[in-house]
Symmetry: D2
C-alpha cells in the first residue's frame, strides 16, 4: 500500500484529535505538522511521529513529498490556505467554514474545481452512524414523502466573546451544522425565516448577534422544517434530529454518554454527552477515514465544494431573515451582496 | 357525602368515556343522559345507571335535581348550551372549544362569569401527570429562566372531510391543545407566525386549510417557542413537549403504550400509543375528577373562561398568520373582527 | 343489564381501591361492606354508595341479595371465608393467598370446585398489559422454543415485623407473585433451588426468614429460570421480567412512573414507581373487571383454584429448598406434609 | 517519547483489530507480526507498517528490539508463549485464557511473577465506560452495602463444533467474562451452583457441554449473584449487568448500536449490537491503551495474574457444579486436581 503523506496545518485541540485519528489509518502518515507556535506543533508531531515541524503552513503545503493537507487553522486563514493547496495540487480536507463571506467562498471553491483537487469540508455529522442510517432509510423510501424536519442543537456554553466577534454569528457558526444536516437528510432549502433572542448573555446582543434562535425552513420538495439553537445548555451538548414523512419518522437521538442507569433514592439517573467532540468523536474519525479512502480509490461521496457553498447560503439567509425580520429566499443570496 | 347529580349532554364515544369515569367518582351520580339519538342515550344511561334519558339537552339542563352539566355535544352547540346552563345556575364542564368565533366565545363566557357558575373547559393535558410535573417544576424555578418551548402534535389520520369543513381549521381544531399546553407551561403568548402546507390530502387544501403546519411563538416573558402539527402519522398519536431554560429542560415524552420490549431478529421493537384517547385516558379521567372535587370544596385551579378565551386567540392568530403569511400579534385578535 | 350485587369483605387500603374500581364497572354495585371496624366499613360504604355496613363477613356472605364476594381481609381468614362463600353459592374473588398451608388450601379449593362457584385468586400481574402482551406473543410462537426466564421483584421496604411473623416467609409472601408470573408466561415448574441471605434486617433472620433471595427454576418444558427478590429497594418498587427463546425475547419493564425526563446539570433524570399499587393500579382494576365480565357471561380465563394451588406449591418448594439447602422437586410438595 | 516496539503474535480478526488500535497509540510501534500463515501476517503488517514478518512467534519474542508482546494466537499456545515471553523479559498482553487447566495456568503465572514482567489478561469489560463507571461508584460507596449481582450474557450464535471441542466448555469459554465482571464489580466469589441445559444444539450436549446455563454465586462479602448465559440469541449480542445494594442499583445496559429510533406503522424500532466486538470495540482499544500507558509509566491497575487465576477458578467451579449437580466452593478448586 502506497503511503499518503499528510501535512497537518494547525496544532490545536482539533489538530491533535485529527492527528491521532490519522495515526490509526492504514497507509496514512502525518509527515509535517505546521503551526506558528512551534512547541504546539512539536507536541503534536511527537504524538504521531511526524518527521517535520514547520511554522509556515504555506511551506508545508508546497513540499513535494506532501500529498494531502488537513486544515484546522483559524477560520480567517481557511480560504487562503485552501487556495494555496489547490494551486499546489494537493488533496484538501478543511474544517468548516471556507469563509464567512459568500463571494470569497465561491471564488476559492472555483479555484478548487478548476484545479480538480479532492476537497472535503468538515461536516462531520454526515459520517455519524445515526445520520447515515437515517439518510439511507430516507433514500430507500422508508419514510415515503418527506413532510417535516425538526432539529435542536445546543452547546453547553457560549464561546468567549472574542471568538464570537469573528464567528460570523450564531447562524453561520453554530446552526450551519444543522442546516447542512437538513440538506443532507431532506434536500435543498428554498426559503428560511428566523426569530432570535438574547437570553444567555447581553454582550452577545451587543454584537448584533443572538444566542437563542429558531429557524423555519421551506425545502424545495415541500417539506417544512424547523431548527432551534441555543448557545447554552447546562446539561451539556444537546442534539436531536427528526425527519417525518408519510410512512413514518426517524429520530436521531443523543443517547446517554455512558450506558449506565443509576437507580437511587431520587429515581433513575443517566449521564449525558458534554460537548460535540464527545458526541461526534467517532464521526470526526470517520470523516477523515473517508477522505483518505477516497484518495486510495474509493468512490464514496464526500461533502465538497457544493455542500460548503449551499449550507453557507442557508446560514447567510437565516442571518438576514433574523436581522430584517422577514422570510428570505435562498436565491436572494448572491455573490457580491454582503450578508 | 352529598351526591352531585349530573346531566350528561351527548352520548358519543367521549360521552361514554366521561360517563364511565364519573361512575367511579365518590359522590357523583349521572342522573340524566340527554342526546337526540335515544338508543345511544339509553345505552350510555344503562352503562352507568342513569335514571333518566332525554332527547333535549335544554330540558336536562333545566331539571331542578341536576347540579352539573357535562357537555360533549358537537362543537356548534357548545356556546348555546353553556349559556343555557349558566343562566340555569349549573356547574359546567365543556369539551373544547366554546366556539370557533371569538366574539361568540367572549359573549358566552361573560354570561358564565356574570352568573358566577363553575366553568371548566376540556384542556385535558393540564391533568396529565407529565404536564403537571413539568409545570410544577417550572413554577418552583427548577428550569431557571425559560428560553425555548418546543412541541410536536400529530394525529394518526385526518378526520373526515365533512368534519374538517366545520372544524375551524387545523390551528383551532388540533394545534389549540398545544397552544394551551404552551400557555400552561410557559405563559402568555405575544406573537405568532405560522407556515403551513398541504401534504396529506389535497381536499384539505381545497378547504383553505392546511394539514402540515409549524407555528413560531414569542411569549411575553421572552421565551421563543415552536409547535409542529400534522394531521397524519402512520405510527399513531405523536406528542412530545419540551421546555428549556437557563437551568435545564423538561421533556414530556409519549412512552410506549405497553411496557414491553420485543427483541427479535430485526432488533428491538416497542409499541406506540394509537390515539389521543389512549395517551390521555388518565388525564380525561383526572380533569373530570378535579371538576367534581372543586364542586365538593377543593380549591384547586381549573382551566376556565380565561384559558378558553386566550388559547382560542392564539389559534385565531396562527390561522391569520398562515393565511396572510406574516407575523400576527395576539393583541390584534379582537372581538368583532372575523378570524 | 342485570346488576351484580357485591359484598366487599375488608375495608383496608386494598378494600377501598377495589371498591372504587367496582364503582366504575357497568352493572356492578357494592351492596354491603363488611369489616370488624365499623367506621372503616362506613367510610368505604360512603365512598361507593353501599347501602349496608356489617361487622360480620359471614352475615354479608349469607345475604340473599349478594351475588359475589370480594375478599380483602387478613390472610388468616381467607380459607374460612372462601369456604363459607362457596357453601353459600356465591362467586368469589379473593386476594392471594388462600392459605399458607397446602393441605388447608387444597381442602378449601376442593369445596369451591364441588360447589361449582366462580373463583378467582388475585394474581393481578396476569391482567397487566405488559404481561398479557408477552403471554400472547409467546402463545403465538413469536419467541420459538422457550429457553430462559428471568425476573426480579423488589419491594421498597420490608413490612412490619409483626406482619412478617405471619406472612409465611419471603417465598410465599412476596416471590409467589413472580412464581405465578413464571407459570403464566412459561408453564409448570418441575424443580426449584433457592439461596437466601439476611441483608436488610437481622430481625427477619431471627424469624428463620430471609430478605434477599434467588430462586432457580427448572420448568417441565426444559426452560431454565431465575427469580431474584429483595424486601428493600431504596428507589422504589423494582420489577422486571424477561422471557427468552429461540426466536427472541420479551422484556416487561417498569417504565418511569411519569413520562417526563428532566435534564439538569447532573444529567438526565426520570422518576420511578414507588410501590406495587402504583405500578399495577390498572392491573388491579382489570382483574376485577374480568371477574365481573365472566359473571356477566364472558368466557375469558381467570386464575382460579388450579393456579392458586400450583403457585403455592412452587413457593413451598422454594421455602423448603432454602431451609434444607438442596434442590426440591415440585412433586415432593404434597398435602399433609408441612412446609 | 521513546517508542515501544511490539511483536504481535497472531494475525486473525482480533489480531488486526489490536494492530489497528496500536497504530493510533502515541509512542507505540508494531515492529513484528508473527503468524504461521505468512500472507495473513503480511497483510496485517502492511496495514500497520510493521517492518518484520515472521512465521515463528518464539523468534519474534526473542528479538532484542522487541519490548512487548501482544498474544492473540489460539488458546492452546497461550501458556507456552507467555512463559517464553516472561523468560525473555518482555511485557505481555494476552487474550484470555492463559490456559483451560488450573495447574498449567498457575505454573505459568508463577514464572511471570518471578520474572517481574508486566502482564495483562484480556478482560476487556474492565475498560468499558459502563463497567468502569459502575465500579467507581461502588467503590465510592454510592450503592451502600452490596446485596445482589445479576448478569446476562448471550452470544448471537454458537461457535463451530470444532472450536467448542477445545473451548473448555461454556463456563470457561463464555461465562468467564461474566465471572470476571462479577469479581471486578462485587469482589471475590466463595461458592457457585450451576444449572444447565442443551437447548440450542444437541451436538453441544454430546460433548458434555451445555449451551444454556445459569450460575448462582455467593460472594465472600455476602452478596448473592446470578449469571445467565446462552450460546444463541437471534437478536444479537445480549449483555446486561446489574449491581444492587442497600442504597440503589447500577444497570449497565447494551444501548442500541445506532442512536436512531424508527417509528413505522408497527411501532418504534431500534437496532441492536450484533456481537461482542461491536459492543466492546472501544473497550478493546482502551485495554491495550492502558497496557501501553503502564509501560510508559502510568500507575493504573490492570487485570493481571491474580485476576486471570481467580476468574478461571470460578469458571472451573461452575463447570464442576454443573457436572456434579451440587454447590461447589471456590476453595475446592486446587492445582493438581483436574476440572
Amino acid at each position: 500500500m502506497k503511503t499518503i503523506n499528510v501535512a497537518l496545518l494547525g496544532a490545536g485541540r482539533m489538530g491533535s484529535e485529527h492527528a491521532l485519528n490519522m495515526r490509526s489509518f492504514p497507509g496514512v502518515q502525518t509527515l509535517v505538522v505546521a503551526a506558528p507556535h512551534t512547541p504546539s506543533a512539536e507536541k503534536v508531531a511527537d504524538l504521531v511521529g511526524a518527521k517535520h515541524v514547520l511554522s509556515s503552513p504555506e511551506e508545508a503545503i508546497e513540499r513535494q513529498d506532501v500529498d494531502a493537507v488537513v486544515i484546522v487553522t483559524p477560520t480567517s486563514t481557511h480560504a487562503r490556505l485552501i487556495e494555496h493547496a489547490a494551486r499546489s495540487g494537493k488533496a484538501i480536507f478543511c474544517e468548516k467554514p471556507v469563509a464567512l463571506d459568500l463571494t470569497e467562498t465561491a471564488r476559492v471553491l472555483r479555484v478548487v474545481e478548476e484545479k480538480g483537487v479532492l476537497f472535503q469540508i468538515g461536516f462531520q455529522r454526515r459520517f455519524d452512524v445515526g445520520f447515515m442510517a437515517a439518510r439511507e432509510a430516507i433514500q430507500q423510501g422508508t419514510l415515503g414523502d418527506l413532510e417535516q424536519f425538526r432539529a435542536v442543537g445546543r452547546d453547553p456554553a457560549p464561546p468567549p466573546i472574542e471568538y464570537l466577534k469573528v464567528s460570523g454569528g450564531i447562524f453561520l457558526d453554530q446552526a450551519i451544522h444543522d442546516f447542512d444536516a437538513a440538506r443532507f437528510l431532506v434536500g435543498e432549502v428554498e426559503e428560511v425565516l428566523a426569530w432570535g433572542a438574547v437570553r444567555v448573555n447581553p454582550e452577545i446582543g451587543a454584537l448584533g448577534d443572538a444566542d437563542t434562535v429558531t429557524t423555519l425552513l421551506k425545502f424545495k420538495n415541500g417539506t417544512l422544517g424547523v431548527i432551534e439553537n441555543s448557545r447554552r445548555a447546562v446539561y451539556g451538548y444537546d442534539i436531536r434530529t427528526e425527519v417525518f414523512g408519510s410512512q413514518g419518522k426517524y429520530v436521531i437521538e443523543a443517547l446517554p454518554k455512558t450506558p449506565v442507569q443509576h437507580y437511587g433514592t431520587h429515581g433513575i439517573h443517566m449521564d449525558h454527552y458534554h460537548f460535540f467532540m464527545d458526541r461526534f468523536a467517532p464521526a470526526y474519525r470517520a470523516e477523515l477515514a473517508a477522505f483518505f479512502r477516497v484518495m486510495q480509490g474509493s468512490s464514496e461521496t464526500l461533502p465538497g465544494t457544493f455542500d460548503a457553498l449551499e449550507s453557507l447560503k442557508v446560514g447567510i439567509a437565516a442571518t438576514r431573515s433574523y436581522r430584517e425580520n422577514r422570510p428570505v429566499k435562498i436565491m436572494e443570496i448572491q455573490e457580491g451582496v454582503p450578508a
